[in-house]
């Protein structure tokens, strides 16, 4: 332990003791209880937007100008390659993609598209499978793992992502709670639309460093959206 650690913690404890003016520092359980009360207050601070269900809210946010992604729905994951083919054709791209090394994606029939597992620095298009999505913000969730390398979401010019409708969390906190007790992945990437910058005169331009286009394929969405 460095001397700085001791110096900083001692200075903090002295200042806090002075601020408390003789009152005892609450114990760990007391601090946790305070934090939990704060956590509970969040419910009344969230924007109203999930009245018509998580799925509709997710799709609406996703294609809103602020997020700027494109979206379509398919019945099952087996339909994903056809959606990718349609997208590549519509965008005038070659039928060649970096395919995220996810077993469920690899098991699909990719005939007509050349797929490779390595992603290059100037990859035109990558195809991925998100862990889930968050309705409130129109966000895709990726946890880094051997089946989900981080760079697939950041190097390509076009990122085409499938996400299961059953894995949409309503609020940001619902996602957080779902993994609160598990092992934190090396990277959690919450991706909300394509890369953008407003650094030159505040004008929004897409494709600053990450993908310039994000296309989301929602898999197995219910015809009628449930409110859960």
């Amino acid at each position: 332990m460095s001397a700085a650690r001791g110096t900083i913690l001692t200075a903090i404890r002295a200042a806090l003791a002075h601020r408390r003016g003789g009152l005892a520092e609450p114990d760990e359980a007391g601090i946790a209880a305070e934090a939990e009360l704060l956590r509970a207050r969040v419910v009344s601070t969230r924007p109203d937007r999930l009245e018509d269900g998580a799925q509709s809210a997710f799709l609406r946010r996703l294609v809103s100008p602020g997020v700027g992604a494109t979206a379509e729905s398919v019945a099952q994951l087996a339909d994903f390659p056809a959606a990718v083919r349609r997208y590549l054709t519509a965008q005038g791209l070659r039928p060649s993609v970096a395919l995220q090394p996810h077993p469920e994606l690899r098991a699909l029939d990719w005939s007509g598209i050349e797929t490779h597992a390595q992603i290059s620095a100037d990859e035109p298009a990558a195809v991925g499978l998100a862990l889930g999505a968050i309705a409130e913000t129109g966000t895709l969730v990726f946890h880094s793992s051997p089946a989900s390398p981080t760079l697939f979401a950041f190097l390509p010019a076009h990122h085409i992502v499938a996400v299961e409708a059953a894995r949409i969390w309503r609020w940001l906190e619902d996602y957080a709670d779902a993994f609160a007790d598990g092992v934190q992945p090396r990277n959690v990437n919450l991706i909300t639309g394509a890369s953008g910058t407003t650094d030159i005169e505040g004008a929004l331009v897409r494709g600053a460093h990450g993908p310039g286009r994000l296309h989301v394929v929602l898999v197995g969405g219910a015809a009628r959206d449930s409110n859960h």
């Binding site: 700085a4 650690r5 900083i8 913690l9 200075a11 903090i12 200042a15 806090l16 002075h18 601020r19 609450p26 760990e28 601090i31 934090a35 704060l38 956590r39 969040v42 601070t45 969230r46 924007p47 109203d48 602020g66 100037d122 129109g138 966000t139 880094s144 793992s145 051997p146 390398p149 981080t150 760079l151 609020w171 940001l172 906190e173 957080a176 609160a180 934190q184 992945p185 090396r186 990277n187 990437n189 919450l190 991706i191 909300t192 639309g193 890369s195 953008g196 910058t197 407003t198 650094d199 030159i200 005169e201 505040g202 004008a203 331009v205 494709g207 600053a208 460093h209 990450g210 993908p211």
Partner: protein, 471 residues
């Protein structure tokens, strides 16, 4: 812009900024846009007042138990495989970072924008150590090419017009694209920087939040440069102020809602990433080493010296976007890492009050900054605190003390004060044309750059008396 680089005093820097013909245009384009977008986002979020109280209370809770949360964060970060370093001063933090770079044999380092990095002088320290530094945030890339310091904490190149950016890229990019549109400028920078990301030995980022219960570090960007900075090189170094803690990921989410809307008017950043430790078994990418440098740099003094409220600050920049002074003079005139209201509170602590007593004075106390602050920092009160301290420690000039003494003498004598103000409005009216005063003796400091509105013909007290007599 060249004028602001010389070591001038505050007044001279303000003069230079006001005389700059393009600066006002550049500020209005970016900052005007930011204010409009924030207002639109807030109109969609009637829960903002409650959210802001929660944000304030979460930060206050962390600050009240800062030692507890720091130790908890450190324990969890170490468990994830991160190396955690502590630094009392900015210089100590820079030494730690440079040492890690040297041990890694680093020749080239990529950086993702971090205000703390600027605050501790990391760009300079890397240069001194002979390590090439590549700024990857587009705005930081622009000001690195221009050799300018940042002028805003969210849009560091806000002082550059598109024409100036095109000129810089044309001169510095290896194979510049046609630079006729902002889109092409962005594409040119993307191409220029892509190879630099791949060549870097170390990537350095800041932290928007440190998550105590997981040991993760949260960064937000819209460009995706943070993730390319932290994933591609063999070593990732995070530098973070000790006040960046939140208890859990869920608490971070509540803070993110406030941060993003306040900063850019968007609802969420394109890339919100929680980084936790180095590459794991089987991972195809990610850094082999993950270092976190926790920096005090005056924060424990803030806690001890009555500035604990300022430790809430999440660096959104809303206070400067809504500051009437900042909007006239831009960021460089402040002469420090942090401009605007938050900077005028922080700089006297970081640089010393005698060197920066002008900053808390350059404020109208209109309260806009506090009103938009997503964690309700009482900025005007803190600025007044510095003015009090400047007065009580004798930093104020003889002229200022004399003038304030005179004003105090008059203000404490109502009859005299009414007489003086009645005389003043009459004299001012003599110089007015069509409701505006373009020139007046002793008012050159104001009227040189803008007109002064003509005051009403009678003072408030005179009007009040007349109305009461009539009714």
């Amino acid at each position: 812009m060249s004028a602001v680089k010389k070591p001038l005093g505050f007044n001279a820097r303000v003069q230079a900024a006001l005389a700059d013909p393009t600066l006002k245009i550049a500020i209005d384009r970016t900052i005007g846009n930011a204010r409009t977008k924030r207002a639109a986002a807030m109109a969609q979020w009637p829960q903002f007042p409650a959210a802001r109280e929660l944000g304030r209370d979460i930060k206050d809770h962390v600050i009240a138990h800062l030692d507890h949360y720091l130790v908890k964060f450190e324990r969890n970060a170490r468990r994830s495989g991160a190396a955690v370093h502590w630094a009392c001063s900015g210089a100590e933090a820079c030494e730690i970072v440079v040492d890690i770079c040297r041990k890694a044999g680093a020749r080239s380092v990529t950086r993702s924008k971090s205000m703390l990095g600027e605050e501790i002088g990391l760009p300079h320290a890397l240069q001194e150590a002979g390590i090439e530094r590549v700024e990857t945030d587009l705005a930081e890339h622009i000001i690195q090419l221009a050799g300018d310091p940042p002028s805003h904490i969210v849009w560091p190149a806000m002082h550059k017009t598109r024409e100036q950016v095109a000129e810089l890229f044309h001169r510095h990019h290896h194979t510049p694209l046609p630079l006729d549109t902002v889109e092409n400028m962005v594409a040119s920078a993307r191409r220029e920087l892509r190879s630099r990301f791949l060549a870097a030995d170390v990537g350095i980022s800041g932290a928007n939040f440190l998550i105590a219960d997981s040991g993760a570090v949260c960064t937000v960007t819209n460009e995706g440069n943070a993730e390319l900075t932290t994933t591609l090189p063999r070593v990732h170094i995070v530098t973070a102020g000790i006040e960046k803690l939140v208890p859990s990921t869920a608490h971070a989410m509540a803070m993110l809602r406030l941060l993003v809307r306040s900063a850019t008017g968007a609802e969420f950043t394109q890339y919100t990433t929680f980084h936790c430790g180095p590459k794991r078994s089987g991972d195809l990418d990610g850094p082999a080493e993950f270092h976190i440098v926790l920096v005090d740099g005056g924060r424990t003094r803030m806690l001890a010296e009555g500035l604990a409220d300022m430790l809430r600050c999440i660096r959104c920049g809303a206070c400067m976007n809504h500051c009437v002074v900042y909007r006239q003079i831009g960021g460089h005139a402040y002469g420090s890492t942090y401009p605007g209201p938050l900077g005028s509170v922080l700089t006297p602590l970081l640089q010393g009050l005698p060197q920066s007593a002008d900053l808390p004075r350059a404020c109208t106390l209109n309260g806009q900054c506090q009103e938009v602050c997503p964690v309700a920092i009482p900025l005007p009160t803190l600025l007044r605190g510095w003015r009090d301290r400047a007065w009580s420690t004798g930093i104020e000039s003889v002229t200022a003390r004399w003038a304030l003494g005179l004003w105090g003498f008059v203000a404490l004598r109502p009859a005299l004060y009414r007489l003086a103000s009645a005389w003043a409005v009459r004299v001012m009216s003599l110089f007015a044309r069509d409701g505006w005063i373009a020139r007046m003796p002793l008012a050159g400091g104001w009227t040189h750059y803008r007109d002064l509105p003509q005051p009403p013909k009678r003072t408030f007290m005179a009007q009040y008396r007349r109305r009461r007599a009539r009714s």
